[in-house]
Symmetry: C2
Subunit: 252 residues, 2 copies
């Protein structure tokens, strides 16, 4: 009987003993990309040792976990949802497993948790309570767009979405132009895909022709296209980014 | 004889045929990290099909290539050096292999090429000439520090090193504080390791106690430590980051 237990324990040793910490797991940006192309294999090994997850969307997190480790038994895992509807007071209780010595994984819908997504709230609570936080390597559309733009990587700013209100929007664009000229700071922002074409058109009309615009589309996907051109060149049209997640970068 | 050649060709098919493009290969941030923990295996597969490299430092690039693919024959590869001493007019000729249909890899000393490093110049030329640029996934200390800080990932700026001149330095710090308050923009910057402790001391004396400072040190290394505390807590001392590469982040 004792021997049998010992054997069972032996079998379980490939479920790695993972130190209690908040692990931030990036996920692929594109459905079409192979995990081996966008994530270190170490991430999947680490996942095997974690039972508690804070996720932006349960369905996509389950799909990712199954892809990362086909042998995983999803039913033994616990999922807490942290999305834009979660109220701040509900975040701290999600970290309870950490207090009991269990590791927690954070998984977003796409890309790196806590960058332009709700995971940051869980990290903030973990930091406040003195828990260890471990970021893992994976695809970030912002960083990969910056790498491939040819723009200044010594100074850059990411601003999320431009304001919708037209007055605020044009003053934001003026401010970005100033920061490019005065601080040599690359300006990075995003738009919802169905508005991408309209945004490029708008930038073509609003900004000086000698500014450079990089349009970085479907990063790591099959239709990946990262093009840096002068505003005056974009003004000529001949593009269609209406269906792909896209990052925009400005510089001179 | 013909058969023999055919066999030779067969043997060479595991040297993948890689499309002509400028590939940006991240490298580990720390000597102690295993490649499987910080790089997708797809990157190494891609490396096998590339003969021409633009590198920040030949010695460290060779070491990385040997680690990524122990079977690699370094002597069959060509290396062009692109570092802070390279003059701008010497960059374009480095892309000659691309015009002849051969892929080129860009390799920095640590982290992601073209982010806070000279590779950006090669990317800018490639974009200007209309060559395809492909960023690959790997560790970025800036992005990983941001993920683990718990700070705003919807709006952030990286400023490189703070100015040395004390007047410019304190006006830069004031400006960062304003951008935190007005724009909710996370402020990210770096310092040379031997000055890290002095910088934290300086920030403790200069900035309001209720600002948050995240110190992200030795990311992916054995001494990795990412701690977010109030300035008033850092002011009490009890830290030593004098020997590890460290990223600093401010937020409120």
């Amino acid at each position: 009987m004792i021997e049998r237990n010992a054997q069972d324990l032996d079998c379980n040793t490939d479920t790695t003993q993972v130190e209690a910490a908040l692990y931030l797991f990036p996920v692929p940006l594109s459905d079409t990309s192979s995990l081996a192309d966008v994530l270190p294999s170490g991430n999947s090994r680490l996942l095997k040792g974690i039972k508690h997850f804070i996720v932006e969307n349960v369905r996509s997190a389950r799909r990712f976990l199954k892809k990362a480790d086909p042998s995983i038994d999803i039913n033994t895992l616990s999922f807490a949802v942290l999305d834009e509807h979660t109220s701040p007071e509900d975040v701290a209780p999600m970290l309870a497993p950490l207090s009991e010595g269990h590791p927690i994984g954070v998984i977003s819908e796409a890309g790196c948790p806590a960058v332009a997504d709700p995971g940051a709230d869980a990290v903030a609570v973990a930091q406040r309570k003195g828990f260890k936080v471990v970021p893992l390597v994976g695809p970030s559309s912002i960083l990969m767009a910056l790498m491939a733009s040819g723009f200044n990587g010594q100074s850059f700013a990411f601003s999320g979405y431009l304001p919708i209100d037209s007055g605020k929007r044009s003053s934001k664009l003026r401010e970005m132009e100033q920061r490019i000229r005065r601080e040599r700071q690359t300006q990075i922002f995003i738009e919802t895909p169905y508005r991408n074409n309209r945004l490029i058109e708008e930038l073509s009309h609003t900004l000086p022709g000698n500014l450079l615009l990089c349009v970085a589309s479907d990063i790591t996907g099959t239709r990946q296209n990262i093009s840096t051109r002068y505003i005056s060149q974009w003004a000529k049209g001949g593009y269609d980014y209406s269906k792909t997640p896209t990052i925009f970068l400005l510089f001179s």
